[in-house]
């Protein structure tokens, strides 16, 4: 057994419009290192955009930034997106449908649905002191 810790990349993203794209650039490099195919790499980037803009828009973080950790565990990529905001109750988040959204005044609210569809696993840990979204993708 090796005691070498798995490769990890840590990013701090300021809450500034479009800065989520900085996270996707890193994700592309990590995916390339893992030799993931283009489809999986694009799915990871899209899920990461959604997780990051959710943190930007809904956390009301006073810290002003979002932490993103990429951990390569063999053939599994684990991504954690953490904000130090007010937290949220996932049970209160309604699963959107196009039939409902097309006539609604509120057409947004697709982020969690996209993340869950695009990644292999997704877990949420949220308290009044912040939220961590943990997403995984297998090679």
């Amino acid at each position: 057994m090796s005691d070498k810790s798995p490769p990890k990349v840590e990013l701090t993203i300021p809450i500034i419009p479009d800065m989520e794209l900085a996270a996707t650039k890193t994700a592309e490099v990590v995916a390339k290192h893992m030799d993931l195919d283009e489809e999986k790499s694009a799915e990871i980037s899209m899920a990461l955009i959604e997780a990051t803009i959710n943190a930007f828009e809904h956390s009301d973080s006073t810290e002003g930034n979002v932490q993103i950790h990429f951990v390569i565990q063999g053939e599994l990529l684990v991504i954690k997106v953490t904000d130090r905001g007010k937290g949220f109750d996932k049970s209160q988040v309604k699963i959107p449908t196009i039939e409902e959204k097309i006539t609604s005044d509120h057409k947004r609210g697709w982020g969690l649905q996209l993340i869950q569809e695009l990644m292999d696993t997704v877990e949420f840990e949220s308290t009044g002191e912040g939220t961590t979204v943990t997403m995984t993708k297998k090679k």
């Binding site: 794209l21 694009a42 959204k101 057409k107 697709w110 695009l118």
Partner: protein, 114 residues
């Protein structure tokens, strides 16, 4: 990333909008503004060429849902071509393809919208 830009062309009765850049809230608003201006002039059929918008987010795509809603009021149609696979997948997940059409090429799109 460079600012989102678009080019609007009339191809007969069909309005073709070629986009360039990240389709976020800003990009979505620019597309909707271009569509609504054309709708005021009686246009009801629109095609988005997304070849140069390979990165999108759900906020930008939500604005496209708004365009679809407004087109329903005038019996209009919206279609797309040159989509990156992840953009097409996103449109499928969000259900846009139930109310608008993804085409394989510009010629197929122009024929399909005629």
């Amino acid at each position: 990333m460079a600012d989102f830009t678009l080019e609007v062309k009339d191809e007969g009765d069909i309005v073709v909008i070629e986009t360039n850049g990240y389709l976020n809230n800003v990009g979505g608003e620019k597309i909707s503004q271009a569509c609504y201006e054309k709708m005021e002039n009686g246009k009801t059929r629109f095609l988005l060429d997304l070849e140069n918008s390979k990165v999108v987010n759900s906020i930008g795509v939500s604005i496209i849902i708004e365009i679809i809603e407004k087109l329903q009021d005038v019996d209009g149609r919206l279609g797309y071509y040159n989509l990156a696979p992840i953009v097409e997948k996103t449109f499928n997940i969000m259900g846009l393809t139930k109310y608008s059409t993804v085409f394989g090429s510009k010629s197929e799109a122009l024929e399909g919208m005629s």
